[in-house]
């Protein structure tokens, strides 16, 4: 059995815990519960020749009072960068966070999740913003933990990316 550490990263109240709850337990609750520190969950996903255990580190959201401790991300094989589509500033924070994370743990696979797509009519993020992100080569998915949109897809895609040989591009460049 292959195991991988996966982190949920993003601003506060973007739906990281709800995405994990939807993915692991298949449930959703409207009640908001702020995460203090870290919550750990796990789920086995079928990808490639053998199943993979994803150990999910649901890290508290970054806000104006506290920054995410980068030590929690050490050893992560991939991460989900979660943005609340109805709050523009969460995308800005996500872009800053991605740079910090990459500086800390290196270029590991990640997926940007534009969450709360069930409220798309009140989104502050425009199609132009999404195009800019895609232009940077980022993998962007619109998701909803509430309506179970793209949750499985996001984790499966991340698992598939993590199962590829690590630093394959770097080794090619070196060759």
């Amino acid at each position: 059995m292959i195991q991988k550490k996966v982190c949920m990263v993003g601003s506060f109240a973007t739906g990281k815990t709800s995405l994990v709850a939807r993915f692991v337990k298949g449930i959703y609750s409207d009640k908001y519960q702020t995460t203090i520190g870290v919550k750990i969950d796990k789920k086995v996903v079928e990808t490639g020749p053998q199943p993979m255990t994803m150990v999910l580190w649901d890290i508290y959201g970054e806000d104006e009072f506290q920054n995410i401790r980068m030590s929690y991300l050490r050893g992560a094989a991939g991460y989900l960068l979660v943005v609340d589509g109805t709050r523009r500033e969460t995308l800005d924070i996500a872009i800053q966070l991605q740079a910090k994370v990459e500086a800390h743990i290196g270029p590991v696979p990640f997926i940007l999740m534009l969450n709360k797509c069930d409220l798309e009519e009140s989104w502050e993020i425009t199609p132009g913003d999404i195009d800019d992100l895609k232009a940077k080569g980022w993998n962007v998915l619109k998701s909803s933990a509430k309506e179970n949109v793209a949750v499985e897809t996001a984790f499966s895609q991340l698992a598939e990316q993590m199962s590829r040989p690590r630093h394959s591009s770097a080794s090619l460049e070196a060759a």
């Binding site: 059995m1 292959i2 195991q3 991988k4 550490k5 520190g37 870290v38 750990i40 969950d41 796990k42 993979m52 255990t53 150990v55 580190w57 401790r69 030590s71 929690y72 050490r74 050893g75 992560a76 094989a77 690590r166």
Partner: protein, 479 residues
């Protein structure tokens, strides 16, 4: 031969594709050069397959040793299929070769395993026996029922000084579980989640308290649970302990962690989430699964005294009950024997049922009262139910008694019954009485015959007494 062509050396570094294309031509040029230098002797100098094998055999052992130190993982992986096939072939060809080779290992290994299993079983049984009848046991039984654990498990939990319930080997960088072992009869938490959470707590403590480099959280205490953590360069060893463990356990953890780092340096360094390379590290972790119980304090084995007392009491009660029962049976049997010897009493049926005695019998009116006989025994009258039906006994004593009552012999007349049931009447009696007696004796109940030879008439005058005739009763007297 065109010398200029053979001696041509590329003047500039060609691009890589070009260099690849020029390789065959370079080899041809080298062959040509060899031919020019050695001429006809070249063939003899060419290494044959035999020479090649000989040359390789000289360096093979050295090459393997060098490869083992530098490319241990690759060498092991390359050798696995060959070794597996070789073992399979050996088994198929002659199973005895491998059996004999493994025999010295299998014997001790099996003995060790069986001894360990028996030791565990004995310990569980001893604990269970020791505490199964104590007042606490009822509390523990309730706890076992409430918590869904087995009674033995609760007993072990409540009597131990400490027990290492779970040992986790965690990858330091990722917090992923490498291996774990769990002691028998304990309920462990999901090791993947525990590993990650312990790592998160370590990270939190180190970040929050500006711990100096190298320092780390080494103990967590929650109620009666302790978690001891030993961190190494690549891996962390965490022990979930119930109770108070001695400091020697800490030394054991350090030693185990060092051994694992030595034995699995490469798999730990190259770990990318695959536990398979570290499966065999479980044997090291087993060394940390230690426990100590109260009953074995100071190496002194306590005897299950409470159990012995309880068993003695039960034996005494049972013995007394059985003894009393047997005694009553014995007295009853004696009483029945006495009744059976008593004239005029006949026991038809008797039995013991539900602690009481029942009897059905026949009783002659002249026989001794069974109640009086019973009073002479130590049997409790309330446990005895008797039913006596009346009858007439032909016992000689009763027959004589009855004839004396019927004939009412006058003074001077004696009646006696011989063993042949012949009634003898002797003495002197008035003629009227003799006549009446002869009439009464005519039916002769209980007699085979009667004899009045010794009886004389009482003469009204002093004349010579007359001899009475000897009379015979009917041929078959009615009893």
């Amino acid at each position: 031969m065109d010398n200029s062509q053979t001696g041509r050396i590329p003047t500039s570094a060609a691009p890589s594709a070009e260099a690849t294309a020029s390789q065959p031509s370079s080899q041809a040029e080298m062959s040509e050069l060899r031919r020019l230098l050695f001429g006809d002797k070249l063939e003899a100098l060419q290494p044959t397959a035999t020479v090649k094998a000989e040359a390789v055999s000289k360096v093979l052992a050295e090459a393997i040793a060098q490869s083992h130190s530098q490319y241990q993982r690759q060498l092991t992986q390359a050798a696995v299929p060959t070794v597996e096939t070789a073992i399979q072939a050996s088994v198929e060809t002659n199973i005895n070769v491998l059996s004999e080779a493994l025999f010295p290992i299998i014997g001790p290994a099996t003995r060790k395993s069986v001894a360990a299993a028996i030791r565990n079983l004995t310990q569980s049984l001893n604990q269970g026996l020791e505490h199964s009848l104590s007042p606490q046991s009822f509390k523990w039984r309730w706890e076992a029922r409430r918590t869904g654990r087995s009674f033995a498990e609760v007993v072990l939990l409540r009597t131990l000084v400490y027990q290492v319930e779970q040992v986790l080997l965690i990858h330091k960088e990722t917090g992923l579980l490498l291996q774990q072992v769990v002691s028998d009869q304990t309920q462990s938490q999901d090791p993947d989640l525990v590993s990650a959470m312990l790592t998160a707590i370590q990270d939190f403590v180190q970040d929050s308290f500006n711990v100096q480099s190298g320092g780390s959280l080494d103990t967590l205490e929650v109620g009666e649970m302790n978690i001891w953590i030993e961190a190494g360069p690549q891996a962390v060893l965490a022990c979930v302990i119930r109770g108070n463990a001695p400091e020697e356990l800490r030394t054991q953890l350090k030693t185990t962690l060092e051994q694992i780092h030595r034995a699995y340096a490469t798999p730990l360094k190259d770990f990318e989430g695959d536990q398979a390379a570290l499966t065999s590290s479980k044997t090291y972790l087993q060394d940390c699964l230690k426990a100590q119980f109260k009953t074995q304090d100071n190496g002194k084995k306590q005897r299950p005294t409470k159990l012995l007392i309880a068993l003695t009491c039960i034996t005494l009660v049972l013995g007394t009950w059985l003894g009393l029962g047997l005694q009553a049976n014995h007295r009853w049997a004696n009483y029945i024997a006495q009744l059976e010897q008593e004239p005029g009493l006949v026991v038809i049926q008797q039995q013991r049922r539900g602690g009481k005695f029942y009897l059905l019998g026949l009783q002659d009116p002249l026989a001794q009262s069974p109640g009086e006989l019973l009073a002479q025994t130590q049997l409790k009258p309330e446990t005895i139910h008797m039913q006596w039906e009346p009858y007439l006994s032909l016992d000689p004593a009763f027959t004589l008694q009855r004839w004396q009552a019927r004939l009412e012999p006058p003074e001077g007349v004696t009646l006696w019954l011989d063993p042949d049931q012949v009634l003898h009447i002797s003495g002197t009696a008035p003629e009227e009485w003799i006549n009446l007696s002869q009439r009464l004796l005519y039916r002769g109940e209980g007699l085979k015959a009667w004899n009045m030879a010794g009886l004389t008439f009482q003469a009204p005058s002093p004349s010579q007494p007359r001899q009475t005739p000897q009379l015979q009763p009917p041929s078959s007297p009615t009893p």
